[in-house]
Symmetry: C2
Subunit: 319 residues, 2 copies
């Protein structure tokens, strides 16, 4: 990780500063709850993408810092709403907003963060990234709704899964990289390369995340193993398992409401002990390789090397 | 109402068209639920404000129609989240999104609508209204959160109520008018006049709405009388009542959790039969008059006359 962040070691603290400034709200309780959400330090992969993508042409921190902060803030806002919807009580070891202040406050606080992120993007004065940013949130929500509507559908294909994950997860990785490139006035070829890198990286990231939902233990995950499946959400390993075992499949039984607990356990065990985990990793690696391939048009320099390392990092199962 | 909409009679259908186009989403279930939310026809007061405010200088429908539609869409998104938070089952006689599809889908659909509205505003290419739009959503959420945090606080003043209502409601009226003026390249004096008009109009609107929560019957309201008070939200009539009856006050008893139902009933009856309703209307009229006063710098023409009529309309208790 350290190697990835090296080219932007002085800039990441500036992003943190900008995020901390978001907690300075106009009344104390709001400031308090924003402070709570924003102290939850993630890996900052998305803002790193924006900054690294901005390194190939006119590196302008006055534009890139607010953009990177906005990307992280948009991500944070979606997590606040996700946790509220899922009734999650903790995230990264801290109690969720909704578990402390209730779902009403959490919904409104998420909305506030969306608005605040849009306000940050507007400070770039760049209409292309402003539009991209709004459309990315549309895409994310559309992907999450698609996931919601396709829950418990045993017929879904892995293509549908890629499309959904592309919308739900990869779109923000893609927008993070694209906006960095656009704000550094990169030529269109470089913008498209970085956008494609971000999209494929995001898909690899999501697949690994979905694999971990089967292979990690509850302690590492911070939530029950097979949590997606329990909610009827079929991710890549589950879809592959359904395709390879069309008859007598515990997932099918579970989705049909028959002996859910035992069938969930059986499904998790079967997937863990099958070749499907390896297959799924193979697919994540393919997307990661496609991400790297997209960067071939860019010069070999420290930010490009960091991006290549990042593509390698996301397919290691360390979260 | 007809007189108010007359100067924009050909434009309002174009706003409706733009709103209907929002329902054309990228998968059928999303299109279906957006269609459901968007069929719920409101009075379209906010988009009317944008269009009328745009009539004083360079009236440019290519900018004003998406702006007006975005304002209504932002309003719709906040209603979707409000209904979800409040567990409301109907709005304007139609079942709410959350009552049909559940709160998960409703939260995500509201988020989608926020994003879609921001995307519409971005098509104006005007950074001032883009920033205003994002900041208005911040202000609305902050006001709603403030209302939430101040619930059940018997010490709050009417100044706090004005500030909260200013953020929660008047800010969007203000932004609707300001953006219309900005997009028509009005000189700053006219922009400020229309902004001030919108803000004061919004306050008058909110006060009348809060009066109706006490004086209307359940059939007209479509929800229980005294619903705000029941949730611990003190609006202008309740705050005035608390100030005028500091001792032996049923609201105080209710907020302290003593015999809630009987005390709520007693409070509603006392407020209905007191001078407070008239006083509150008087205050709404003052704000409406201030709204009209702000328009004095503008030429006397059909859109100005429509705005004056609108200021009169909102203080009539017809919703």
């Amino acid at each position: 990780m350290q190697a990835i962040f090296e080219p932007i070691a002085t800039e990441i603290p500036l992003v943190e500063e900008r995020l901390n400034a978001v907690a300075e709200a106009d009344f104390p309780q709001l400031a308090h709850l924003l402070g709570h959400v924003l102290q939850r330090e993630g890996k900052r992969i998305r803002p790193a993408l924006t900054l690294l993508a901005g390194k190939f042409h006119h590196y302008n921190l006055e534009l890139l810092i607010p953009m990177a902060a906005a990307i992280e803030l948009l991500h944070t806002a979606t997590l606040v709403h996700d946790d509220t919807i899922d009734n999650s009580t903790t995230r990264r070891g801290l109690p969720t907003l909704s578990s402390i202040w209730g779902s009403e406050v959490a919904v409104l606080a998420g909305d506030y963060l969306f608005a605040r992120s849009a306000d940050l993007v507007a400070t770039t004065g760049n209409l292309r990234v402003i539009t991209l940013f709004a459309q990315t949130l549309m895409t994310i929500c559309s992907g999450q709704l698609e996931e919601n509507f396709s829950a418990c559908d045993p017929q879904q294909s892995h293509q549908q899964y890629y499309q959904r994950s592309g919308k739900k997860t990869a779109s923000l990785f893609s927008a993070a990289a694209e906006s960095g490139a656009v704000l550094s006035q990169a030529p269109e070829e470089a913008v498209q390369a970085l956008k494609s890198y971000g999209y494929n990286l995001g898909l690899a990231f999501q697949i690994v995340d979905d694999i971990l939902d089967f292979t990690a233990d509850e302690g590492e995950l911070g939530k029950p193993v097979g949590g997606d499946l329990l909610q009827g959400v079929l991710t890549l390993p589950a879809i592959l398992f359904m395709q390879q075992h069309p008859e007598d499949n515990p997932i099918k039984e579970m989705l049909a409401g028959r002996d859910e607990e035992a069938n969930l356990k059986r499904a998790i065990e079967s997937i863990r002990n099958s070749a499907i985990i390896g297959e799924s990793y193979g697919i994540a690696q393919d997307f990661s390789a496609q991400a790297c391939h997209a960067l071939q048009v860019l010069p070999d320099n420290p930010p490009r090397r960091a991006l290549l390392q990042l593509a390698d990092y996301v397919i290691q199962c360390q979260r």
